[in-house]
Symmetry: C2
DNA sequence: ATACTTGCAAAAGATTTGCCGCATG
DNA sequence: CATGCGGCAAATCTTTTGCAAGTAT
């Protein structure tokens, strides 16, 4: 049973056959495709269909939204128009996107996290969420 | 003459009547509506139409894209689906968005800026762009 | 029975584009 | 004259929704 399926049980999200397939595909994303994998709905639909052809894209849309609202997956609006998803990580991380290849690298920097809280506080706000995306080009090493 | 019109001249972007109106509306955004103002295309179109009814929304789309490509305005994809624009600031800043009111506060934090560069470098990348958005709730003061 | 799910196709919302007349250098 | 620009409507792309049939409680 995949991690996402586990979380669905925890949160009382009913697990239908379709949702199980989608959950597994999303849980497998990292393992099968590497840490850079943050598929969009279309890509998810393709992977899901390779397991069960009958699952419609509407169901994929409905399911990722459902999972997102339950805090089970995270939605990212990176540049490029389409939303991309990943299983909610155990420990939060941010993203560096290779502007040439689209490759995504995850990172954490505690100092930045701390500073963000401080900045918000200084402005009279309690930080409830944040988005940090770095866009960069690979440095060629000689 | 507005700042955006100036920049168009600098960059060799031809200034038609429609573009002048759009440039002025965008330059006026901050002054008339406060620093929280980052209008979307629909809102821009409304403001533009209050000056010249004949300017179509297609022209507004084409013009903001043109300005963006020339580095004259900045596009932001905050949560909410539609892109929002602001005149490119003299000094870079990031945004804190009030999740309740939608109000936007601009801020700069040099420490965070520096750390971002370092993080990218450590990962083997040259930072070419970044996006930092804080989402928060107002702290009530007693 | 009752409430939730799904597939399909249609709808919706944001943005882009083809066409053609018009303006500008 | 030649190129670019703008208005309009149609097209496109992503995402959502109404409906009717199917499934689970």
């Amino acid at each position: 049973m995949s991690k996402i399926e586990d979380k669905c049980k925890e949160k009382g999200v009913r697990l239908t056959d379709q949702r199980k397939v989608i959950a597994r595909v999303m849980s497998d994303s990292k393992i099968k495709y590497g840490s850079k994998d943050h598929p969009d709905v279309d890509e998810l639909h393709k992977r899901v269909n390779s397991i069960d052809e009958k699952i419609s894209i509407a169901t994929v849309y409905r399911t990722v939204k459902l999972f997102e609202e339950a805090g089970i997956v995270e939605k990212h609006d990176f540049k490029g128009g389409k939303a991309r998803y990943e299983q909610s990580p155990d420990e939060h991380h941010d993203h560096l996107i290779d502007v040439n290849s689209g490759e995504i690298i995850e990172f954490v920097n505690e100092e930045i996290e701390e500073l963000q809280k401080k900045v918000a506080q200084k402005l009279g706000y309690k930080l409830v969420d944040h988005k940090l995306e770095l866009y960069g080009t690979k440095i060629k090493k000689n």
